[in-house]
């Protein structure tokens, strides 16, 4: 091989390995657009905030579903944990939002860490049931311990001011949206970086061929536990945001249908490329509001129908076209998504 060929290969290799590192213009436009929406549409701040929080929640699910290929029916548990952790903290007088956020994420992460080993054994159904079982158990625990959680009546609390300055509860919806946006962006950027690291590559390998990943020397169990814990932390952060910005927490956060909803959001947008959760969350919430306005009691039916059609048609997602603009961020994010 001539020297020219060799250096051509080197160049090509370098370009290939680094292709995802830079933020594409499509991504920059996306984030600026969201920020602009918050600033320019203060009357819609409430729903934008809701979309952002749902997006973060869906992003957290993407970390385990899209990256590691783990199907979880109980991810709402971490969301609920984060929400209640932040709310309880605030109701006890420690109302600083940032503190609540970190606490919520930490509590969720700890539970995630403890329950992750349960995922490692058994087949798909087992994993599914374990995740579901854990979330239902937590829901029951929350229900039975009304003295902490307020039970079915919910909890009364007020979040403090952000950075001691900005009100973010009912009265500060635009601040709330900006706060959520900031948290989402930071966490997203971290996840994006993670996706391109050797760790992220290993997760893709585990997802695509767990047997071979082990044969490469990857300690698959440890990696899975790590990403599950991180995903739990992200979900907990989303829950904490919800509690702090809406001042409402309720037991239905642990419900099965919450886990089903977030999965649907992620599937609509497409799992495995990080933006899917965000786009799916927006689409889901907009769709839900539009349909509920038209047929309030039966919107569930249309969601179910959409899901059935989506699956039967091979899960082509809205995200497909947008993907070309933003380009692949995560390694090996297959067109078909997961497992």
């Amino acid at each position: 091989m001539s020297a020219a060929d060799a250096s051509a290969t080197t160049g090509r290799l370098a370009a290939h390995l680094h292709r995802r590192a830079r933020w594409r213009w499509g991504e920059i436009v996306f984030w600026l657009a969201v920020l602009a929406a918050i600033v320019a549409l203060p009357a819609r701040a409430g729903i934008i905030n809701e979309v952002i929080i749902a997006g973060l929640f869906a992003l957290s699910l993407d970390l385990i579903l899209g990256f590691a290929g783990i199907v979880s029916l109980g991810h709402a548990a971490f969301f609920g944990l984060g929400a209640y952790a932040a709310a309880i903290l605030a109701s006890q007088g420690l109302a600083d939002p940032t503190l609540g956020l970190v606490f919520g994420a930490a509590v969720a992460a700890i539970v995630g860490l403890v329950t992750a080993p349960l995922l490692l054994r058994g087949a798909d159904l087992t994993r599914l049931m374990v995740t579901l079982g854990v979330s239902l158990m937590l829901g029951e625990v929350a229900n039975r311990n009304a003295w902490i959680t307020g039970g079915a009546d919910g909890l009364n609390f007020s979040p403090g001011r952000l950075l001691g300055f900005f009100p973010i509860g009912f009265t500060g919806q635009r601040n709330a949206a900006l706060y959520s946006f900031a948290v989402l962006f930071i966490l997203f950027a971290i996840a994006r970086r993670l996706a391109q690291s050797p760790f992220g590559l290993a997760l893709a390998a585990i997802r695509e061929n767990r047997l071979r990943a082990g044969a490469l020397g990857i300690a698959t169990s440890r990696r899975i536990v790590a990403i599950y814990t991180l995903a739990a932390a992200y979900a907990g952060a989303a829950g904490a945001l919800l509690a702090e910005t809406t001042q409402i927490v309720s037991l239905d956060l642990f419900d099965f249908h919450r886990s089903a909803d977030v999965m649907l959001m992620l599937i609509i947008g497409g799992a495995g490329w990080l933006y899917g959760g965000l786009i799916g969350a927006a689409a889901f919430i907009v769709l839900r509001d539009v349909i509920s306005a038209a047929t309030p009691e039966y919107w569930e039916f249309w969601i179910g129908l959409a899901l059935v059609i989506l699956v039967l048609s091979g899960r082509e997602r809205i995200g497909e076209r947008l993907r070309r603009l933003v380009a692949q961020i995560t390694p090996g994010a297959a067109r078909r998504g997961v497992a």
């Binding site: 349960l118 798909d124 374990v130 039975r144 059935v308 699956v311």
Partner: protein, 287 residues
């Protein structure tokens, strides 16, 4: 205490009938059917509506409660389900969740949100006193009927040719096909029977759970899944044992330690999965 035990056994038998169909589809086709509860709901509605609106006696409604969901199941299997036999678990989960989400509003639209009650005939109500122990007549009835069903199923599987073909198909569908077993037809029939059993279970359960309403499928979905997970997917015995175990623990738990309530069955499931991830009665290859 014996009363509690019998109540638990009755509940367990009920769960068995309800969940046996799910166990079959899971064990047979490795298909995760979260819409199973919808068939139970249909069966419950059949009985309730036939009794309340057409005055049909309770016992006579039971065959219909089996047949109608069975036919529905067969139809859905032919048209929709079979497209997803090779699909990923995620797809199966999403698809069947979609079906359930559709089924519930349809029920609410056609029949209304109010729980439909099944009023038991005189001869099935009340209690018997047996050596100082009070036993609900209906509970006995359930144990009897479900016990007979369990026996019939076991005989069916073990003694008939169809049963043998079914078991062959479960072990290895490709080999069975090579031996001339019409695997497609087997799947369809198994699915229909499973759905029918769910319907029958729903009809029998209506009195016990306080009526059938549109949220039935989701309310009991988890319980069914727990039964199947704990019992393993290795046929009737596992499902029966799992159901009885969970049934008695659930009833006993709620009676003796009401503050924990439903927590017990979830905890049992999680513990089981930790110790034996394939369920208590799984096949040797751990599927």
């Amino acid at each position: 205490m014996l009363t509690i035990l019998l109540d638990g056994v009755a509940y367990g038998m009920l769960l068995f009938v309800l969940a046996s169909g799910l166990s079959v589809t899971l064990g047979l086709m490795n298909f995760i059917n979260l819409a199973h509860g919808a068939f139970a709901m249909v069966g419950g509605y059949v009985t309730a509506l036939m009794m309340n609106r057409a005055g049909v006696p309770f016992l006579l409604t039971l065959p219909a409660a089996f047949l109608i969901p069975a036919i529905l199941g067969a139809a859905l299997e032919r048209t929709l389900y079979r497209r997803l036999y090779g699909a990923t678990p995620l797809d199966q989960v999403l698809f069947t969740i979609g079906l359930v989400l559709m089924a519930m509003p349809i029920a609410a639209y056609l029949i209304g949100d109010e729980p439909q009650q099944v009023h038991l005939p005189q001869w099935l109500s009340g209690r018997i006193d047996f050596h100082g122990v009070g036993i609900g007549v209906y509970r006995l009835f359930i144990i009897l009927v479900c016990g007979i069903i369990a026996l019939l199923l076991q005989t069916f599987l073990v003694r008939t040719r169809f049963g043998a073909q079914l078991r062959a198909a479960v072990d290895d569908a490709r080999v069975a096909q090579g031996l001339g077993v019409d695997v497609d037809r087997i799947f369809a029939i198994a699915f229909a029977i499973g759905s029918g059993l769910a319907g029958l279970g729903g009809a029998l359960a209506a009195d016990v759970v306080g009526g059938i309403d549109p949220s039935f499928p989701v309310k009991f979905l988890v319980t069914f899944l727990i039964v199947v997970t704990v019992g393993g997917s290795n046929g009737i015995l596992g499902a029966l044992f799992g159901s009885l175990l969970l049934g008695t623990l659930d009833v006993a738990g709620k009676y003796y330690v009401p503050s924990i309530g439903a927590f017990i069955i979830y905890a049992v499931m999680v513990v089981t999965l930790i110790v034996r991830p394939q369920g208590l009665f799984a096949r040797g290859d751990g599927r």
